[in-house]
Protein backbone atom coordinates (compact mmCIF):
# COMPACT_ATOMS: atom_id res chain seq x y z
CA UNK A 1 0.00 0.00 0.00
CA UNK A 2 1.43 3.38 -1.01
CA UNK A 3 -0.39 5.41 1.65
CA UNK A 4 2.87 5.93 3.52
CA UNK A 5 4.52 7.47 0.48
CA UNK A 6 1.44 9.56 -0.05
CA UNK A 7 1.58 10.94 3.49
CA UNK A 8 5.31 11.53 3.16
CA UNK A 9 4.82 13.41 -0.11
CA UNK A 10 1.93 15.40 1.40
CA UNK A 11 4.14 16.41 4.32
CA UNK A 12 6.92 17.40 1.93
CA UNK A 13 4.77 19.29 -0.57
CA UNK A 14 2.75 21.27 1.96
CA UNK A 15 5.72 21.67 4.31
CA UNK A 16 3.69 20.34 7.22
CA UNK A 17 5.51 20.11 10.54
CA UNK A 18 6.36 16.60 11.81
CA UNK A 19 4.36 16.87 15.03
CA UNK A 20 1.10 17.05 13.10
CA UNK A 21 1.58 13.44 11.87
CA UNK A 22 2.54 12.12 15.30
CA UNK A 23 -0.81 10.99 16.73
CA UNK A 24 -3.01 9.45 14.02
CA UNK A 25 -3.97 9.85 10.36
CA UNK A 26 -7.27 9.15 8.66
CA UNK A 27 -7.74 8.95 4.92
CA UNK A 28 -11.26 8.62 3.61
CA UNK A 29 -11.45 7.33 0.09
CA UNK A 30 -14.76 8.13 -1.62
CA UNK A 31 -16.68 7.38 1.56
CA UNK A 32 -16.14 3.67 0.92
CA UNK A 33 -12.74 3.02 2.42
CA UNK A 34 -11.12 4.51 5.46
CA UNK A 35 -7.44 4.11 6.09
CA UNK A 36 -6.42 4.66 9.71
CA UNK A 37 -2.84 4.96 10.86
CA UNK A 38 -1.94 5.08 14.55
CA UNK A 39 -4.95 3.38 16.18
CA UNK A 40 -4.53 2.07 19.69
CA UNK A 41 -7.15 -0.70 19.75
CA UNK A 42 -10.75 -1.46 18.93
CA UNK A 43 -13.56 -0.50 21.28
CA UNK A 44 -16.64 -1.49 19.32
CA UNK A 45 -17.05 -3.15 16.00
CA UNK A 46 -20.26 -3.90 14.14
CA UNK A 47 -21.56 -3.57 10.58
CA UNK A 48 -22.97 -0.11 11.39
CA UNK A 49 -20.37 1.29 13.72
CA UNK A 50 -16.66 1.03 14.45
CA UNK A 51 -15.07 2.78 17.43
CA UNK A 52 -11.37 2.67 18.12
CA UNK A 53 -8.91 4.40 20.39
CA UNK A 54 -6.35 6.92 19.24
CA UNK A 55 -3.89 9.10 21.13
CA UNK A 56 -5.80 11.51 23.34
CA UNK A 57 -9.25 10.20 22.42
CA UNK A 58 -11.32 7.91 20.31
CA UNK A 59 -12.84 7.91 16.81
CA UNK A 60 -16.31 6.73 15.92
CA UNK A 61 -17.18 5.67 12.39
CA UNK A 62 -20.80 5.24 11.42
CA UNK A 63 -21.99 3.66 8.22
CA UNK A 64 -23.50 0.60 6.60
CA UNK A 65 -21.99 -2.81 5.85
CA UNK A 66 -18.78 -1.90 7.60
CA UNK A 67 -16.01 -4.44 8.04
CA UNK A 68 -12.29 -4.33 8.71
CA UNK A 69 -10.41 -5.05 5.54
CA UNK A 70 -7.16 -5.30 7.49
CA UNK A 71 -6.25 -4.90 11.12
CA UNK A 72 -2.66 -4.75 12.27
CA UNK A 73 -0.71 -3.23 15.12
CA UNK A 74 -0.63 0.33 13.78
CA UNK A 75 -3.08 0.47 10.91
CA UNK A 76 -6.59 -0.55 10.08
CA UNK A 77 -8.65 -0.28 6.93
CA UNK A 78 -12.43 -0.03 7.16
CA UNK A 79 -14.47 -0.87 4.11
CA UNK A 80 -18.19 -0.14 3.65
CA UNK A 81 -20.43 2.85 3.20
CA UNK A 82 -19.11 5.51 5.56
CA UNK A 83 -21.64 8.14 6.68
CA UNK A 84 -19.97 9.83 9.60
CA UNK A 85 -16.58 10.12 11.27
CA UNK A 86 -16.43 11.66 14.73
CA UNK A 87 -13.42 12.33 16.88
CA UNK A 88 -13.88 12.56 20.63
Amino acid sequence: MNIFNYLGELKKELKIPDNIFKSYNLINISGNLLYVEGHLGLIIISTEMVIFKVKNGKIEIKGKGLFLKTLSQNTLVIQGKIYKIEVF
Binding site: G41, L42, I45, T47, F67, T70, L71, S72, Q73
Partner: protein
Amino acid sequence: MKIGSLLNIEIAGLNQEKIFNKFVDMGIEIVDLIRSSHSTASFSIQPNDLTKVKKILEQNQIAIKSIKKQGFIKYYSAMLLRVGILIGFCLSIILLFISNYFIINIRIYGNEQLSTVDILNFLMQNNVNSFTLKNSVESDELEILLMKNFDKISMVSIIKKGATLIVNIKEKIPDGNETDFENIVSEYNGRITDIRLISGTLKKKAGDIIKVGDILVEGSFIDSFSQKQKITPQAEIKAEVWFEEKIIHYEKSIVTEYTGNEIKLRSIMLFGLELFSNFSGKSFEKFEVKENYIQLKNVVLPLIIKCSIIKELRTFERISQFEDVKDELIEECKQKTLQRLGSNDIIKSEKCTVTPGAGFTVVSYLMIVEKELC
Protein backbone atom coordinates in the same frame (compact mmCIF):
# COMPACT_ATOMS: atom_id res chain seq x y z
CA MET B 1 -8.39 -17.86 -6.36
CA LYS B 2 -6.13 -16.18 -3.87
CA ILE B 3 -2.53 -17.08 -4.43
CA GLY B 4 -1.64 -16.42 -0.80
CA SER B 5 -3.06 -18.88 1.67
CA LEU B 6 -5.43 -17.72 4.44
CA LEU B 7 -7.55 -19.37 7.05
CA ASN B 8 -11.03 -18.01 7.54
CA ILE B 9 -12.23 -18.43 11.12
CA GLU B 10 -15.77 -17.98 12.34
CA ILE B 11 -16.13 -17.36 16.06
CA ALA B 12 -18.94 -17.00 18.56
CA GLY B 13 -18.70 -15.27 21.91
CA LEU B 14 -18.93 -11.97 23.73
CA ASN B 15 -16.46 -9.15 24.13
CA GLN B 16 -14.76 -9.87 20.82
CA GLU B 17 -13.10 -6.45 20.52
CA LYS B 18 -10.87 -7.44 23.41
CA ILE B 19 -9.54 -10.50 21.64
CA PHE B 20 -8.99 -8.63 18.36
CA ASN B 21 -6.84 -6.14 20.27
CA LYS B 22 -4.94 -9.08 21.77
CA PHE B 23 -4.33 -10.48 18.30
CA VAL B 24 -2.97 -7.14 17.16
CA ASP B 25 -0.75 -6.87 20.24
CA MET B 26 0.73 -10.28 19.45
CA GLY B 27 1.53 -9.16 15.89
CA ILE B 28 -1.23 -11.18 14.22
CA GLU B 29 -2.58 -9.41 11.16
CA ILE B 30 -6.35 -9.77 10.68
CA VAL B 31 -7.96 -9.58 7.26
CA ASP B 32 -11.64 -9.24 6.31
CA LEU B 33 -12.99 -8.90 9.83
CA ILE B 34 -16.81 -8.92 9.66
CA ARG B 35 -18.91 -8.68 12.80
CA SER B 36 -22.13 -10.09 11.44
CA SER B 37 -23.96 -10.01 14.80
CA HIS B 38 -23.30 -9.11 18.40
CA SER B 39 -21.92 -12.56 19.22
CA THR B 40 -20.51 -13.81 15.90
CA ALA B 41 -17.68 -12.64 13.70
CA SER B 42 -15.50 -13.97 10.97
CA PHE B 43 -11.95 -13.05 10.04
CA SER B 44 -8.98 -14.38 8.13
CA ILE B 45 -5.44 -14.97 9.34
CA GLN B 46 -2.20 -16.43 8.05
CA PRO B 47 -1.99 -20.24 8.60
CA ASN B 48 1.15 -19.71 10.73
CA ASP B 49 -0.84 -17.71 13.28
CA LEU B 50 -3.51 -20.38 13.82
CA THR B 51 -1.95 -21.83 17.00
CA LYS B 52 -1.66 -18.39 18.64
CA VAL B 53 -5.20 -17.47 17.64
CA LYS B 54 -6.63 -20.73 19.00
CA LYS B 55 -4.82 -20.20 22.28
CA ILE B 56 -6.14 -16.65 22.71
CA LEU B 57 -9.69 -17.72 21.83
CA GLU B 58 -9.53 -20.57 24.34
CA GLN B 59 -8.28 -18.26 27.07
CA ASN B 60 -11.17 -15.84 26.43
CA GLN B 61 -13.79 -18.59 26.19
CA ILE B 62 -14.70 -17.82 22.59
CA ALA B 63 -15.80 -20.77 20.52
CA ILE B 64 -14.53 -21.48 17.04
CA LYS B 65 -17.49 -22.31 14.82
CA SER B 66 -15.53 -23.14 11.70
CA ILE B 67 -12.13 -22.87 10.06
CA LYS B 68 -12.10 -22.67 6.27
CA LYS B 69 -9.10 -22.70 4.02
CA GLN B 70 -8.78 -20.01 1.41
CA GLY B 71 -6.43 -19.56 -1.53
CA PHE B 72 -3.80 -22.09 -2.57
CA ILE B 73 -3.86 -23.99 0.73
CA LYS B 74 -7.50 -24.96 0.02
CA TYR B 75 -6.52 -26.74 -3.22
CA TYR B 76 -3.33 -28.12 -1.71
CA SER B 77 -5.14 -29.76 1.21
CA ALA B 78 -7.88 -31.01 -1.12
CA MET B 79 -5.23 -32.65 -3.24
CA LEU B 80 -3.80 -34.46 -0.23
CA LEU B 81 -7.23 -35.88 0.56
CA ARG B 82 -7.96 -37.18 -2.95
CA VAL B 83 -6.49 -40.62 -3.48
CA GLY B 84 -6.82 -40.49 -7.27
CA ILE B 85 -4.85 -37.26 -7.53
CA LEU B 86 -2.21 -38.65 -5.19
CA ILE B 87 -1.88 -41.86 -7.18
CA GLY B 88 -1.69 -39.86 -10.41
CA PHE B 89 0.98 -37.66 -8.90
CA CYS B 90 2.99 -40.68 -7.72
CA LEU B 91 2.60 -42.37 -11.11
CA SER B 92 3.79 -39.28 -12.94
CA ILE B 93 6.84 -39.17 -10.66
CA ILE B 94 7.50 -42.86 -11.41
CA LEU B 95 7.06 -42.27 -15.14
CA LEU B 96 9.40 -39.33 -14.96
CA PHE B 97 11.90 -41.59 -13.22
CA ILE B 98 11.42 -44.28 -15.84
CA SER B 99 11.81 -41.87 -18.72
CA ASN B 100 14.99 -40.48 -17.18
CA TYR B 101 16.67 -43.78 -16.42
CA PHE B 102 15.45 -46.12 -19.17
CA ILE B 103 15.56 -46.27 -22.93
CA ILE B 104 11.98 -46.45 -24.14
CA ASN B 105 12.38 -45.84 -27.87
CA ILE B 106 14.99 -47.01 -30.35
CA ARG B 107 15.12 -45.10 -33.62
CA ILE B 108 17.24 -46.13 -36.57
CA TYR B 109 18.03 -43.70 -39.35
CA GLY B 110 19.94 -43.96 -42.62
CA ASN B 111 19.44 -47.66 -43.37
CA GLU B 112 18.34 -48.42 -46.91
CA GLN B 113 19.95 -51.77 -47.66
CA LEU B 114 19.95 -53.03 -44.08
CA SER B 115 16.67 -53.98 -42.48
CA THR B 116 15.57 -52.14 -39.34
CA VAL B 117 14.39 -55.46 -37.88
CA ASP B 118 17.87 -56.98 -38.31
CA ILE B 119 19.48 -54.05 -36.50
CA LEU B 120 16.89 -54.15 -33.72
CA ASN B 121 17.41 -57.91 -33.34
CA PHE B 122 21.16 -57.39 -33.15
CA LEU B 123 20.69 -54.71 -30.49
CA MET B 124 18.37 -57.06 -28.60
CA GLN B 125 21.04 -59.79 -28.70
CA ASN B 126 23.38 -57.29 -27.08
CA ASN B 127 20.86 -56.55 -24.32
CA VAL B 128 19.70 -53.24 -25.74
CA ASN B 129 15.94 -53.14 -25.83
CA SER B 130 13.05 -50.97 -24.70
CA PHE B 131 13.33 -50.48 -20.94
CA THR B 132 17.04 -51.14 -20.85
CA LEU B 133 18.82 -49.01 -18.26
CA LYS B 134 20.31 -46.00 -19.99
CA ASN B 135 23.57 -46.26 -18.06
CA SER B 136 24.08 -49.88 -19.08
CA VAL B 137 24.18 -48.95 -22.79
CA GLU B 138 27.74 -48.29 -23.91
CA SER B 139 27.34 -46.33 -27.13
CA ASP B 140 30.99 -46.69 -28.19
CA GLU B 141 31.02 -50.46 -27.78
CA LEU B 142 27.70 -50.79 -29.60
CA GLU B 143 29.01 -48.72 -32.50
CA ILE B 144 32.06 -51.01 -32.82
CA LEU B 145 29.89 -54.12 -32.61
CA LEU B 146 27.55 -52.84 -35.31
CA MET B 147 30.48 -51.99 -37.57
CA LYS B 148 31.95 -55.48 -37.08
CA ASN B 149 28.72 -57.37 -37.65
CA PHE B 150 27.29 -55.44 -40.57
CA ASP B 151 29.61 -55.20 -43.56
CA LYS B 152 27.34 -52.74 -45.30
CA ILE B 153 27.81 -50.11 -42.58
CA SER B 154 30.55 -47.60 -43.28
CA MET B 155 29.85 -45.29 -40.35
CA VAL B 156 27.56 -45.47 -37.32
CA SER B 157 26.84 -43.17 -34.41
CA ILE B 158 24.70 -43.95 -31.39
CA ILE B 159 23.39 -41.24 -29.12
CA LYS B 160 21.07 -41.25 -26.12
CA LYS B 161 18.61 -38.38 -26.28
CA GLY B 162 16.09 -38.32 -23.47
CA ALA B 163 14.47 -41.73 -23.38
CA THR B 164 15.37 -42.46 -27.00
CA LEU B 165 18.36 -44.29 -28.41
CA ILE B 166 19.14 -42.89 -31.84
CA VAL B 167 21.18 -45.05 -34.20
CA ASN B 168 22.46 -43.13 -37.21
CA ILE B 169 23.78 -45.35 -39.94
CA LYS B 170 25.72 -44.50 -43.07
CA GLU B 171 25.80 -47.39 -45.48
CA LYS B 172 28.57 -48.24 -47.91
CA ILE B 173 27.95 -47.23 -51.53
CA PRO B 174 27.73 -50.44 -53.58
CA ASP B 175 30.69 -50.83 -55.97
CA GLY B 176 29.44 -51.52 -59.50
CA ASN B 177 32.78 -52.99 -60.58
CA GLU B 178 32.70 -55.83 -58.12
CA THR B 179 33.64 -59.09 -59.80
CA ASP B 180 32.80 -62.58 -58.65
CA PHE B 181 35.82 -64.84 -58.81
CA GLU B 182 34.16 -67.73 -57.01
CA ASN B 183 34.68 -71.23 -58.42
CA ILE B 184 31.88 -73.11 -60.17
CA VAL B 185 30.96 -75.85 -57.72
CA SER B 186 28.72 -78.85 -58.37
CA GLU B 187 25.42 -78.89 -56.57
CA TYR B 188 24.53 -82.40 -57.72
CA ASN B 189 25.83 -85.91 -57.82
CA GLY B 190 26.28 -87.38 -61.32
CA ARG B 191 28.55 -87.70 -64.34
CA ILE B 192 29.70 -84.96 -66.71
CA THR B 193 28.68 -85.63 -70.31
CA ASP B 194 29.94 -82.44 -71.92
CA ILE B 195 32.01 -79.49 -70.69
CA ARG B 196 33.15 -76.42 -72.68
CA LEU B 197 35.35 -73.90 -70.92
CA ILE B 198 34.89 -70.17 -71.59
CA SER B 199 37.12 -68.74 -68.85
CA GLY B 200 38.90 -70.10 -65.80
CA THR B 201 40.58 -73.46 -65.27
CA LEU B 202 38.83 -76.80 -65.78
CA LYS B 203 38.96 -79.16 -62.83
CA LYS B 204 36.79 -81.92 -64.31
CA LYS B 205 36.45 -83.37 -67.78
CA ALA B 206 33.69 -85.15 -69.68
CA GLY B 207 33.01 -88.61 -68.23
CA ASP B 208 34.14 -87.68 -64.67
CA ILE B 209 31.92 -88.60 -61.73
CA ILE B 210 31.02 -85.55 -59.68
CA LYS B 211 29.70 -85.15 -56.16
CA VAL B 212 28.06 -82.23 -54.40
CA GLY B 213 30.76 -79.69 -53.55
CA ASP B 214 33.28 -80.74 -56.23
CA ILE B 215 34.95 -77.80 -58.02
CA LEU B 216 34.14 -77.93 -61.75
CA VAL B 217 35.79 -74.73 -62.97
CA GLU B 218 38.25 -72.68 -60.90
CA GLY B 219 38.07 -68.87 -61.00
CA SER B 220 41.76 -68.39 -61.83
CA PHE B 221 44.37 -69.13 -64.54
CA ILE B 222 48.13 -69.21 -64.80
CA ASP B 223 49.48 -66.46 -67.03
CA SER B 224 52.61 -66.46 -69.19
CA PHE B 225 54.70 -65.37 -66.18
CA SER B 226 53.46 -68.41 -64.20
CA GLN B 227 51.48 -66.07 -61.98
CA LYS B 228 48.05 -67.09 -60.81
CA GLN B 229 45.47 -64.52 -61.94
CA LYS B 230 41.86 -64.31 -60.88
CA ILE B 231 39.12 -64.54 -63.48
CA THR B 232 35.39 -65.02 -63.47
CA PRO B 233 34.86 -68.72 -64.21
CA GLN B 234 32.50 -69.48 -67.08
CA ALA B 235 31.69 -72.77 -68.80
CA GLU B 236 28.91 -74.72 -70.52
CA ILE B 237 28.49 -77.93 -68.60
CA LYS B 238 26.06 -80.79 -69.25
CA ALA B 239 25.81 -83.74 -66.94
CA GLU B 240 23.82 -86.83 -66.07
CA VAL B 241 22.52 -85.98 -62.64
CA TRP B 242 21.30 -88.61 -60.22
CA PHE B 243 18.37 -87.75 -58.07
CA GLU B 244 17.50 -90.28 -55.40
CA GLU B 245 14.84 -90.21 -52.70
CA LYS B 246 14.17 -92.80 -50.00
CA ILE B 247 11.20 -93.65 -47.85
CA ILE B 248 11.48 -96.07 -44.95
CA HIS B 249 8.36 -98.00 -44.08
CA TYR B 250 8.08 -99.50 -40.58
CA GLU B 251 5.69 -102.35 -39.96
CA LYS B 252 5.12 -101.14 -36.40
CA SER B 253 5.27 -97.49 -35.55
CA ILE B 254 4.23 -95.19 -32.74
CA VAL B 255 2.24 -92.33 -34.19
CA THR B 256 1.44 -89.05 -32.43
CA GLU B 257 -1.21 -86.87 -34.05
CA TYR B 258 -3.45 -83.91 -33.25
CA THR B 259 -7.00 -84.76 -32.22
CA GLY B 260 -8.28 -81.36 -33.35
CA ASN B 261 -9.22 -80.20 -29.86
CA GLU B 262 -7.48 -77.03 -28.73
CA ILE B 263 -7.64 -74.36 -26.03
CA LYS B 264 -6.72 -70.76 -26.79
CA LEU B 265 -5.30 -68.74 -23.89
CA ARG B 266 -4.43 -65.08 -23.57
CA SER B 267 -2.56 -63.39 -20.76
CA ILE B 268 -1.17 -59.90 -20.18
CA MET B 269 2.30 -59.66 -18.72
CA LEU B 270 4.29 -56.81 -17.22
CA PHE B 271 7.99 -57.25 -16.44
CA GLY B 272 7.48 -61.05 -16.59
CA LEU B 273 4.58 -60.98 -14.12
CA GLU B 274 1.20 -62.24 -15.28
CA LEU B 275 -1.40 -59.52 -14.67
CA PHE B 276 -4.37 -61.21 -16.31
CA SER B 277 -5.09 -64.63 -17.77
CA ASN B 278 -8.18 -66.40 -19.08
CA PHE B 279 -6.76 -69.83 -18.10
CA SER B 280 -9.62 -71.82 -16.55
CA GLY B 281 -7.52 -74.74 -15.31
CA LYS B 282 -8.71 -77.16 -18.03
CA SER B 283 -6.00 -78.96 -19.95
CA PHE B 284 -5.36 -82.18 -21.89
CA GLU B 285 -3.55 -85.34 -20.89
CA LYS B 286 -1.15 -85.04 -23.81
CA PHE B 287 -0.71 -81.72 -25.45
CA GLU B 288 1.54 -79.41 -27.37
CA VAL B 289 1.80 -75.69 -26.59
CA LYS B 290 2.49 -72.98 -29.15
CA GLU B 291 3.25 -69.57 -27.62
CA ASN B 292 3.32 -66.21 -29.32
CA TYR B 293 4.34 -62.94 -27.64
CA ILE B 294 3.10 -59.56 -28.81
CA GLN B 295 4.64 -56.43 -27.33
CA LEU B 296 2.10 -53.60 -27.19
CA LYS B 297 3.27 -50.46 -28.92
CA ASN B 298 2.29 -46.87 -28.10
CA VAL B 299 1.77 -47.84 -24.49
CA VAL B 300 3.97 -46.33 -21.81
CA LEU B 301 4.18 -49.55 -19.80
CA PRO B 302 5.92 -52.51 -21.51
CA LEU B 303 2.84 -54.71 -21.59
CA ILE B 304 3.17 -58.02 -23.42
CA ILE B 305 0.25 -60.12 -24.64
CA LYS B 306 1.01 -63.84 -24.48
CA CYS B 307 -1.14 -65.95 -26.82
CA SER B 308 -0.96 -69.70 -26.18
CA ILE B 309 -2.64 -72.50 -28.12
CA ILE B 310 -2.80 -75.86 -26.35
CA LYS B 311 -3.41 -78.63 -28.90
CA GLU B 312 -4.46 -82.06 -27.78
CA LEU B 313 -2.34 -85.01 -28.95
CA ARG B 314 -2.94 -88.73 -29.06
CA THR B 315 -0.39 -91.46 -29.45
CA PHE B 316 -1.11 -94.94 -30.76
CA GLU B 317 0.69 -97.91 -32.29
CA ARG B 318 0.11 -98.39 -35.99
CA ILE B 319 0.73 -101.73 -37.70
CA SER B 320 0.77 -101.82 -41.48
CA GLN B 321 2.10 -104.38 -43.93
CA PHE B 322 4.40 -103.09 -46.67
CA GLU B 323 2.55 -104.95 -49.39
CA ASP B 324 -0.66 -103.09 -48.48
CA VAL B 325 0.92 -99.66 -49.08
CA LYS B 326 3.64 -100.58 -51.55
CA ASP B 327 2.19 -98.79 -54.57
CA GLU B 328 1.39 -95.66 -52.57
CA LEU B 329 4.93 -95.52 -51.16
CA ILE B 330 6.56 -95.97 -54.57
CA GLU B 331 4.37 -93.19 -56.00
CA GLU B 332 5.14 -90.93 -53.02
CA CYS B 333 8.85 -91.60 -53.43
CA LYS B 334 8.63 -90.84 -57.16
CA GLN B 335 6.83 -87.58 -56.50
CA LYS B 336 9.46 -86.57 -53.95
CA THR B 337 12.17 -87.23 -56.54
CA LEU B 338 10.30 -85.30 -59.25
CA GLN B 339 10.08 -82.27 -56.96
CA ARG B 340 13.86 -81.94 -57.13
CA LEU B 341 13.94 -81.70 -60.94
CA GLY B 342 14.27 -78.43 -62.81
CA SER B 343 11.98 -77.25 -65.62
CA ASN B 344 14.35 -78.06 -68.54
CA ASP B 345 15.64 -81.38 -67.20
CA ILE B 346 15.23 -84.46 -69.39
CA ILE B 347 14.62 -87.74 -67.62
CA LYS B 348 16.84 -90.38 -69.22
CA SER B 349 15.95 -93.32 -66.97
CA GLU B 350 14.37 -94.10 -63.65
CA LYS B 351 14.61 -97.03 -61.24
CA CYS B 352 12.82 -98.09 -58.09
CA THR B 353 14.47 -100.36 -55.50
CA VAL B 354 12.74 -102.02 -52.57
CA THR B 355 15.08 -103.29 -49.83
CA PRO B 356 13.47 -105.30 -47.01
CA GLY B 357 14.97 -105.14 -43.50
CA ALA B 358 14.08 -106.44 -40.03
CA GLY B 359 10.73 -104.81 -39.36
CA PHE B 360 11.17 -102.16 -42.02
CA THR B 361 11.39 -101.72 -45.79
CA VAL B 362 13.36 -99.08 -47.68
CA VAL B 363 11.87 -97.75 -50.90
CA SER B 364 14.38 -95.90 -53.01
CA TYR B 365 13.66 -94.12 -56.29
CA LEU B 366 16.46 -93.05 -58.60
CA MET B 367 16.14 -90.77 -61.63
CA ILE B 368 18.95 -90.14 -64.07
CA VAL B 369 18.42 -86.72 -65.60
CA GLU B 370 20.23 -84.82 -68.33
CA LYS B 371 20.85 -81.37 -66.94
CA GLU B 372 22.67 -78.22 -67.91
CA LEU B 373 24.70 -77.28 -64.86
CA CYS B 374 25.60 -73.81 -66.18
